[in-house]
Symmetry: C3
């Protein structure tokens, strides 16, 4: 019985990993990505006054992961744009979200139950991209561990890792922050996922790729849906990092007061704060969660 | 008779499309491009105090189109710099424009009738670059429409699309604007030309490539010479965009007041303003036209 | 006797050019590079609060030359990161320099006689990188002089030429300056070295590659060790540039007053000032020398 259920789970995972992403899952990815572009301050005005810039930003949000991975692996940056149907679909989503009469399309996709479905489907695409990216990197660099992790990471994080450039395209410049300094949950999860998938690809993690895709997708879907539904800013990694980071990166045991008095008292984690540190940074909020917060305030004002 | 004149026009267009660009037309391209670099505030001082930075900016002005196209198509960014003769010619033009005794060379090329000839020849090079770029992209991506349009666009626009980077090299940083937000006439025309040449390459536009090169070149030469001679800031596309853009990208019919009160009242076109909108942006001025304007003021002061 | 000593010198140069760089020389390169990262204001706090960003900056400092050369030559940016052992060694150096208990490792490598040995060994790596880079570029572009010089230059200068990007990663943005505007001694020396190695590669300079590597390395080692030991800001090129640059790039003999009154009176050299110019720029200080200066002040305060 156990063997049968294991086989069924294995087959389920295998079928799941082979589900074609185009067009339904890709559509969800485009909808959620461009929704978060719309939440950015000034994005609607940008679409009215500078539609070309707005469209380019939308394309970066939809295909940024492919652009970054191509840059790392020395392939044409514009390679993915040869998929005309994907670009046309993303363009249609951009147009409907920004220019649909009475904002009908926007209101439909923003209806929370519907939105949560799209968010869940976006995570399916994210995890699949990480897995495919690592497989692709492995093909070129059989033993390039760092290459595989980096490729998986950029495939999962997408436009977030090039947020400064995407903002610059919109005429916004905020050099004091970037996604590496203040990592959001999806970016962090993409990094950890890239490490897991690299371990699996190099046979250090004894699971099948399909099973890992399935398990990691379930993890990502659960947390992203929960965070989106509750507008929460926490991250499931904070607790673990709160213990590990002070040990690895904490106070340098009295040796750094010459150079930086603050350095000794932070014990910081990735963009977050360890317990009891007086100069803690704000908890890393998901760019999506921050946008959600400001969007909620705007809708409340409008009601 | 009509057949004979059609054949003659066809042959004329074919001969025109095969005229070698090096060295005469390329020389004109370099002269006009580096002239516009000289018009930039602080460019002369830059050449005196930081000649290396000045030379690099001049090379970006002359070869920026090749660099961007290579970046998109995954080829070495420095590929075009293997043409030693072109680089040496551009270097000679840079040196003569910035360092010729008594500014003799500069004064010669700035004499309006002479300058208009160079401007006309630069447009011949621009259109040829668009056509060649699209042909090159088509070779790699037979059905990549967006790839072809993007490649043709960057080949035609050149350094304008990387203006932020070129300015950064000079120590200038203006993140609030870029060529996508405020498209000048040459950039816009390059985009429309890239679309036309892509339609021709994929046989949707039933004209020969030579004829399209000829017709589009005549269009570009006429308007650029007119705009340069009259120091005008208008664009031949404004009227058409003034009708099409409010329809495609105009007020979202009452549905966007939640997110951006300004969004509903603009009906803006590409960087320009529709009629009657209270928060209109300044008309998109050609970077060359703006530089021309400030240059005219300086020469008037000096007279 | 002379023939024998010439043969011995030739063999010495040949053996020297074949000394394997990994792991000892590479280790020195990583130590010195990451030391200079630590000297940057806020770097220690960055390592505590944002270790991922700190590690990425350290990797840029160690491998920036490979990344830039790959970008120029159209190869995968991440190619060098397939050398797992180099990346792990650099990571270990980063960890020890920033997180070693009581800063023991840092204090050891900062002890001046020890540091001077590492500085000398770093220059061996720098010169070898320039030579290899030019050989690699020559392989792709047999007659691409500018390509070879550019590739050698970026291989020698490394992260300095991408300092704006490396600072942006740390949340610092200083657009008013960059390494091209204000060239430090290593960057300038890398450029001149690239020119010499290109002349040798194309057989215009009648010396063997091994001899040129040996001679140029001795030059670089001598000056870098002297500059580091004396915390000097001067450059051995200033005198020569002080004579050549006013002739090549000096006052445009009365022809530039229309456009820039300051332009005529500077006669500036590369980022430096010619004699007697009223608005002279500060002498170009090596980023390393400036960091040395501020480090010395901090250690004096702490004593």
């Amino acid at each position: 019985m156990e063997l049968l259920s294991a086989l069924s789970l294995g087959e389920l995972a295998l079928s799941f990993s082979r589900v074609p992403l185009f067009p339904v899952f890709d559509l969800s990815y485009f909808i959620v990505s461009i929704l978060y572009l719309k939440y950015e301050p000034g994005a609607v005005e940008l679409s009215r006054r500078h539609p070309m810039a707005s469209w380019l930003c939308a394309m970066l949000h939809c295909f940024g992961s492919y652009i970054l991975a191509d840059l790392l692996l020395g392939e044409p940056l514009i390679d993915y744009f040869s998929n005309n149907s994907s670009v046309l679909l993303a363009t249609a989503v951009w147009y409907l979200i920004f220019f649909c009469p009475l904002d009908l399309f926007y209101k439909c996709v923003c209806f929370l139950p519907v939105k949560l479905i799209f968010v869940a489907m976006k995570e399916v695409v994210r995890v699949r991209k990480i897995a495919v990216g690592i497989h692709h990197a492995h093909h070129h660099y059989h033993h390039g561990w760092f290459v595989m992790i980096a490729t998986g990471w950029v495939k999962g994080s997408g436009v977030a890792l090039m947020s400064n450039i995407e903002q610059l395209l919109r005429g916004v410049w905020k050099p004091e922050t970037n996604e590496i300094l203040h990592m959001s949950f999806p970016t962090k999860a993409s990094l950890y996922g890239a490490i897991l998938f690299t371990l699996q690809q190099t046979r250090w993690l004894p699971v099948s790729k399909a099973s890992l895709i399935f398990i990691f997708t379930m993890f990502m879907v659960s947390f992203k849906v929960f965070l989106t539904a509750t507008h929460s800013h926490s991250s499931p990694f904070d607790v673990l990092e709160g213990y590990i980071c002070p040990v690895l990166f904490g106070t340098a045991w009295g040796g750094n007061h010459h150079h930086d008095n603050h350095g000794g008292s932070h014990g910081g984690s990735y963009g977050g704060s360890g317990p009891g540190s007086p100069h803690s940074a704000l908890p890393a909020k998901s760019k999506e969660e921050l946008s959600e917060g400001s969007r909620k305030k705007k809708t409340k004002k409008a009601d």
